[in-house]
Amino acid sequence: MKIIVCIKQVPDTNEVKLDPKTGTLIRDGVPSIINHDDMNALEGALELKDRYKDVEITLLTMGPPQADVALREALAMGADRAILVSDRAFAGADTWATSNTLTAAIKKIGSFDMIFCGRQAIDGDTAQVGPQVAEKLDLPQVTYVQKIEVTGDKVTVQRALEDGYEVIEVKMPCVLTTIKELNTPRYASVKGIFEAYREKTVENWTAKDIEIDPEIIGLNGSPTNVRKTFTPEPKGKGTMLPGCDKDTVCDLFGRLKEKYII
C-alpha cells in the first residue's frame, strides 16, 4: 500500500500573541510545528503501516526551505520518504494555486493508493487544499474522517457530521482529510530522530522539477488576493455589566454575539 501524506509546517498560532501596544501580531519567536490535523493524517498512515507492514509512506510538503525540519520530524515518526516542493515561485499562493502545485508533485510521485491530508491548517484555516487536490486528480474524496478501515482496495471511513457521523465506503485511489478525533499522534522516537537526519533524505523539488505552468502557481496564479489584514480589537480591560437581572444577561449575550464569541 502506498500512501502520500501531505503535511504543512505552520507557526504555532496557539502561541501567537498580540502586542498590546501596537495591536499587531508578535511573530518573532513563534515556534514552527507540523499542523495538528496533518499529524493525525500521518498517524493514520503510520497505524496502517503498523498493521499491514507493507505500507510505504511518502510525505509531501509545499513550503519554504525551513519546512525541512517538519519533514524530518515526520520521518522520525516513521515515514519512509519525504519530498519538499520549494520555490520562490510558489510564494503567496492561495489554496487553488497550492493545490495545483501539490497535484503536479503528486503526479510526479506517480503511483499511490491513498492521499491523506489534515482537514485544515491552523494558519490559513481554509480546509480547501485537500478537496481541491482531489478534484484536480479526479479522485473521490471523503472529508472530516475520524476512523479508517482498509480491506483490500476498499476503504471504509467514519465521516463526522456536526451531530453524529456517516459510514462511507470508497475505493482506492482516494483522498481522505482527517480530523483530530481520528487518533492521538505518536511522538517521534529518539532513534527515529537520528535516523531521520542520518539515514533518510528529504528530496528537494523546484517548480521546474514538477513541470508546472508558472501561470497557475504562486501569487500570480491565485484567483483570490488578500486586500488587507487587520487585528481584531485588542481585549481592553474587562467590563462590569450593570445589575444582575434579565437585561444584564441580555446585554451580555448581545455583546458576545457582536464579537462573534458565540
Binding site: 487553488w96 482531489a134 488576493n225
Partner: protein, 397 residues
C-alpha cells in the same frame, strides 16, 4: 506584481508593517525595507499615507466577467429539513443582491424536496433553482458537485455563498476547483466594494488572531463559505413571491464514487477540559454539590464542559478531574464562565489564558473580576438560570 518602497518619501511610520500579511517589511535606519518574505501581493500599498509604496502591476488578459450576474445561495437541507445556514445566507445574500441590483437565487438539491421552496422564497429568495433527483437524497461530493457546476456553467452567477458546515466545507472547494475560481473559507463578513462592485470577504486567519479581507478580482463566480450562526436571517415574509425553476438532473449511480452506508446520530462524547472550546466552571459560591446542576445545564446549552475550582473539589462537590488551576488542569478555551469562583491566584494560573472570561460572583471585590472580560455581580443561583434561558433563545433564533 512587484513592490517598491520609495525611501525618500518614507517616514518610517510602520503603518505598512501592520498591513503586511507575510511579515515582509522591516524598519532599517528609520525607513521601511522589504525582506525576502515579500510576495508582491501589494496589500501594503493602500496603507501608506505618504504614497511611499509603488506596486507595479503586471496586466494579464482578463476574462470577460460581465456575463456573470446574480447571487446564489446553497440552501443546505438534510433529511428534508432546511439547515439554519440556508436562511442566514439568504438574509445576507439579499443585502448583497440588492446592493448589486441583481437576482437572489437559492440552490436546492435533494430528493422530493419541492415542498421547501416556499420557505426559501419567504426568507428572501427571488428564485429557487430546484434540482430534485433520487441520487441527491443524501449529500455526496460527486453528485452535488456535478449538478452544481453544470448549473453554474450554464447560468453564470457572479457570487455563490455556501454555509461552512461539514457539508459545505466539503462541497465548496470541490466546486471552486472544478470551476477554476477562487473560494474564501469561513467568512464572517461580506460586503460589496462600492467602486469595483466586487465581493469583499472578511474572515479570521492565523488561528483567529487576525482578520483578512479577501477578494476574487479576476475569476467568477466569487465563492465564499460562510460561518454558520453569524449572518442574520430575514424575518420571513409569507407574502413574498418568487420563481421556482425545476432543472433537469442528469445523474447516475456510477457518477458517484462514495457510498453512504449508514448515518449515525450521536451525542458528542465527553470532551476533556484541555480541548474544550467552552468551559463553565463552579466554585465555592455554588454552596453545595447541587450548585453544579446549574453549571451543568449552562454547559450543556452552550455545548461546553464543566470545570471546577479546587475549593469545590476539596469539598467533595465534584470529582478532581474537573479541577482547573495550579494543582488541576490548565485550560485555554474560547469562553470560560466562572460561577461563584473568587479568583484566587492558584485558580487564575489555570484559566487566565482563556479568550473570553465571564464571571458571576456576588462579591464585587472578587479578584476574578480583574481578569474577566465581562463581570456580573449577583446571585449566581438567579443569574445562571437566566443565562440558560438566554442561550436557549439565541439558539432558536
Amino acid at each position: 506584481m512587484s513592490v517598491k518602497i520609495l525611501s525618500d518619501k518614507c517616514l518610517g511610520c510602520k503603518l505598512c508593517m501592520k498591513s503586511c500579511p507575510f511579515n515582509a517589511i522591516e524598519i532599517k535606519d528609520g525607513k521601511a525595507v522589504l525582506n525576502d518574505n515579500c510576495t508582491g501581493c501589494g496589500a501594503c500599498e493602500t496603507s501608506c499615507k505618504f504614497k511611499a509604496i509603488e506596486v507595479e502591476k503586471v496586466e494579464k488578459p482578463v476574462k470577460d466577467l460581465s456575463a456573470y450576474k446574480g447571487v446564489w445561495v446553497f440552501a443546505e437541507q438534510r433529511n428534508g429539513k432546511l439547515m439554519g445556514t440556508a436562511f442566514e445566507l439568504l438574509g445576507e445574500g439579499r443585502k448583497l443582491a440588492d446592493k448589486l441590483g441583481v437576482e437572489l437565487s437559492a440552490l436546492l438539491l435533494g430528493s422530493n424536496v419541492a415542498g421547501l421552496t416556499d420557505e426559501l422564497i419567504h426568507h428572501g429568495a427571488d428564485r429557487v433553482i430546484l434540482a430534485d433527483h433520487p441520487e441527491l437524497k443524501l449529500y455526496t461530493t460527486d453528485g452535488y458537485t456535478k449538478v452544481i457546476t453544470e448549473l453554474v456553467n450554464s447560468k453564470k452567477p457572479e457570487i455563490i455563498l455556501i454555509g461552512a458546515t461539514n457539508i459545505g466545507r466539503d462541497l465548496g472547494p470541490r466546486i471552486a476547483a472544478r470551476l477554476d475560481t477562487g473560494l474564501t473559507a469561513d467568512c464572517t463578513k461580506l460586503e460589496i466594494d462600492d467602486e469595483q462592485k466586487i465581493l469583499l470577504q472578511t474572515r479570521p486567519a492565523f488561528g483567529g488572531n487576525i482578520m483578512a479581507t479577501i477578494i476574487t478580482p479576476k475569476h467568477r463566480p466569487q465563492m465564499s463559505t460562510v460561518r454558520p450562526g453569524v449572518m442574520k436571517k430575514m424575518v420571513p415574509d409569507s407574502n413574498r413571491k418568487g420563481i421556482v425553476e425545476k432543472v433537469e438532473v442528469k445523474l447516475e449511480k456510477k457518477d458517484i464514487r462514495t457510498i453512504v452506508k449508514e448515518v449515525v446520530k450521536s451525542a458528542k462524547q465527553a470532551v476533556n477540559l484541555i480541548d474544550a472550546d467552552i468551559i463553565v466552571s463552579g466554585g465555592r459560591g455554588l454552596g453545595g454539590p447541587d450548585g453544579f446542576k446549574l453549571v451543568e445545564e449552562l454547559a450543556k446549552e452552550l455545548g461546553g464542559v464543566v470545570g471546577s475550582s479546587r475549593a469545590a473539589v476539596d469539598s467533595g462537590w465534584i470529582s478532581q478531574d474537573h479541577q482547573v488551576g495550579q494543582t488541576g488542569k490548565t485550560v485555554r478555551p474560547k469562553i470560560y464562565v466562572a460561577c461563584g469562583i473568587s479568583g484566587a491566584i492558584q485558580h487564575l494560573a489555570g484559566m487566565q489564558g482563556s479568550d473570553c472570561i465571564i464571571a458571576v460572583n456576588k462579591n464585587p471585590d472578587a479578584p476574578i473580576f480583574d481578569v474577566a472580560d465581562y463581570g456580573i455581580v449577583g446571585d449566581l443561583h438567579k443569574v445562571i438560570p437566566m443565562m440558560v434561558e438566554e442561550v436557549k433563545k439565541v439558539k432558536e433564533a
